[in-house]
Amino acid sequence: AGCSSGGSGGATGGGGSAPPLVIHAVDAGTFQEDFNPYHLEGVNFGTSGMIHETLMYFNKLKPGEITPWLALGHEWSDKGKSLTFTLRQGVKWTDGQPFTADDVAFTFQMLKDNPQLNRNALEIEEAKALAPDKVRIDFKNTSYAKLFNIAGNSPIVPKHLWEKQQDPATFTNPKPVGTGPYKLSKFSAQLYEMEKNPSYWQPGKPEVPVLRFPAYTANAVQTALQQGEVDWAGAFVPDIQKIYVQGKPEQNKFYFPPEGVVTLLPNLTHPILSKPEVRQAISLAVDRDKIVQVAERGYTKVAHPTGVPMPGGEAYVPDEYKAAAYKVDLAKAKELLKGVDPAKLKFTLLVPSPFTDWVNAAQLIREDLAKVGITIETRGVAFQDWVSKVGKGNYDLSIRATASGPTPYFQFRSMIHGSLFKPVGEAATGNYQRWKDAETDRLIDEYAATEDEAEQQRVTQALGKIMVEKLPTLPLFYSPSWAQFRTNKYTGWPSEQDPYAMPSPYTSPDAAVVLLHLKPAAK
């Protein structure tokens, strides 16, 4: 795909008259002055995407759709151990310096030198500028599967400024200089503002002149949404019709596309839960529709049995299961449980108690499973406790969201890859239910060893089949990605019909892509 600009030229010239856009991305009481895009939580939203840009843009809503950004193209060599980018020319840093391959090489070299910034664990060997518009990055291992992390999730920083920093890990980049469509114009603990970069490389863009980021806590943003203070938010709203929509669905819009999947984790080291028929029975007994309606308030959808986010992931779903959907079948569930000692059908269901929707879902699961003779004790624990217990495998059943990525592969890898298997008692970082299956591992490794999209899709479909048939974990519903946007100032937001980017303001660099699509609303 090309540069999906779609810019019909400045409808409102200059931008002086266009109103600022008020954005709430993440809950915060106050802001710290931190614009280092490689910091995890302290960094202020907008740093990557709006200020610091990535080499390419990966649309997670359309797996496989990749847009050139700072890089115009890429090329693998050395069996996936070497990656060469061709860079866009004429791009300038906001301080006027030209953007070159040196900056890209510097960025990746910095990740190599500062492992704590290397949150994607890229196995970088060396990054070298070959020419002003050519840069090559060498890896220790085959890294085809990490293209997203390299090109889509590593914002480029200016060498001429960053190389002066002694410790980039603690550098807070208070006066960020980037290539992006915006630059920081104002900062205070409660509010920061960005204004458009007049010399942005996409001519005529962006059309939103000023972005305002007020600090709202999870609580405060609700009031703000109700009172129309915020134009674009990524918040969980308990009762979206009452609090936000307020009877104006054409103006107060929201769009909650899937981002990963929430599954019911069965601990496979448990003698009873390791039986496929038991997992099958559980899956048949759980009324996922009700969970989605009651616990998730209808904000999301029941997951596809493969766990692949739909719509969008069609290409990654095996044909025979394209139309598959969950159906409650208590009779069949009971049938499956015939051979199991009913006295042993007692499990605890561990949920992190701050996640109230999951607590409610657990409650519903308890009610459902009771109907087929399975006794569930739901236990709400502290988030930390839950992380530690699930990580170490000290649980019977739990609920957990999987990691997500630009293709379903990322999800499968973290969900069921044997390399993440850890014995009970040792903290795992994925595959929490402890699935061990040679075929699964072979398939995942095959994916990582190829650059070919068709091949990748085939492998992913096979993994989906395993999900449906062997039930290593039981998908429940998609994790919704939260996005509320009001159309009274700007239009052009992503929608189910045109999912050109993740609509949530907290996903980067997608949010920047969205901003570049926005146009002042017609008066």
Binding site: P238, I243, V294, S353, T378, V381
Partner: protein, 275 residues
């Protein structure tokens, strides 16, 4: 009078906690499709967002809230009695150590400490929350009891018991302890109030076990579900009111006890002289 009203409130809630679940034998966490209903004939106190019946939750929550309150007050009081009486009676280095310990716990801000402790709590069951609250709640009682013990120790009947040959154990627990019962009762009741409030606070912060229904967790969910913004007053008023009422009941009984000990504290009706 105060005691009567206070005891009335307490009896009401105790009965509610003990018998309520027998009368309303529904699952307090059970969800239904009629969410966010205001009070009606079917749901006397309305429903939560997920259609849980608030009355049922209040009734079942009474057990947890009062249970935590009582349990931690019992633990704290036992501790306070031991520390206070032993320190006060034996004096010397034992007392010095114990009073420094007491004073430390007294000045350390309790709730932040509870929050920090609870934040690390591996298990957030009723018992462990109660223990954490007790850990931070015994010091006041111990201090009061120590001061009282110091004065009772000097009282002649203690001296007389000692002169009569009683051993220290018997003096502490048979001579001093009974005399301090009203003080212990007062400190116990005050601790219950404190513990109920602390549990509510913890639950409200989401730091207690939220899968069990307590008044605090109800408030947590109400706050989380933006009951305020939606105008669902029936969701957050009842649990808070229950906490406040139970606290009021306990306080009334407490003040009643105080008034028996110190009749001056009574409110009085000024009657016209019958000339």
């Amino acid at each position: 009078m105060k005691i009567k009203i206070g005891a009335g409130i307490l009896v009401f809630f105790t009965l509610m906690a003990l018998l309520g679940p027998l009368l309303i034998s529904a699952d307090p966490a059970a969800t239904s499709n009629d969410g966010l209903q205001g009070p009606s004939a079917e749901h006397w106190l309305g429903t939560t967002q997920t259609g849980q019946d608030i009355l049922t939750q209040i009734v079942y929550g009474a057990r947890i809230s009062m249970g935590v309150g009582l349990l931690s007050a019992v633990i704290a009081t036992v501790f306070a009695v031991l520390v206070g009486l032993v320190g006060g009676y034996f004096g010397g280095a034992v007392d010095e150590t114990l009073s420094v310990l007491t004073n430390i716990f007294l000045v350390l801000p309790a709730l932040p400490l509870i929050i920090v402790l609870a934040g690390y709590l591996p298990q957030r069951g009723v018992a462990s929350v109660a223990v954490v609250i007790a850990v931070t709640g015994w010091a006041w009682g111990a201090r009061v009891l120590r001061a009282q013990t110091l004065s009772v120790r000097r009282r002649d009947f203690v001296q007389a018991a000692r002169a009569g040959g009683e051993g220290p154990f018997r003096i502490v627990f048979f001579e001093i302890l009974p005399v301090l019962l009203p003080v212990i009762a007062t400190s116990f009741l005050a601790t219950v109030v404190g513990a109920i409030l602390a549990e509510a606070g913890l639950s409200f912060l989401g730091l207690a076990d939220l899968s069990t229904v307590s008044w605090g967790s109800m408030l947590y969910f109400a706050q989380n579900g933006q009951a305020l913004l939606i105008g669902a007053w029936w969701w957050f008023i009842p649990p808070g009111l229950c906490i406040a009422l139970i606290g009021t009941g306990l306080a009334l009984v407490n003040f009643g006890i105080d008034e028996i000990a110190n009749p001056r504290l009574r409110t009085i009706k000024v009657r016209k002289a019958r000339a």
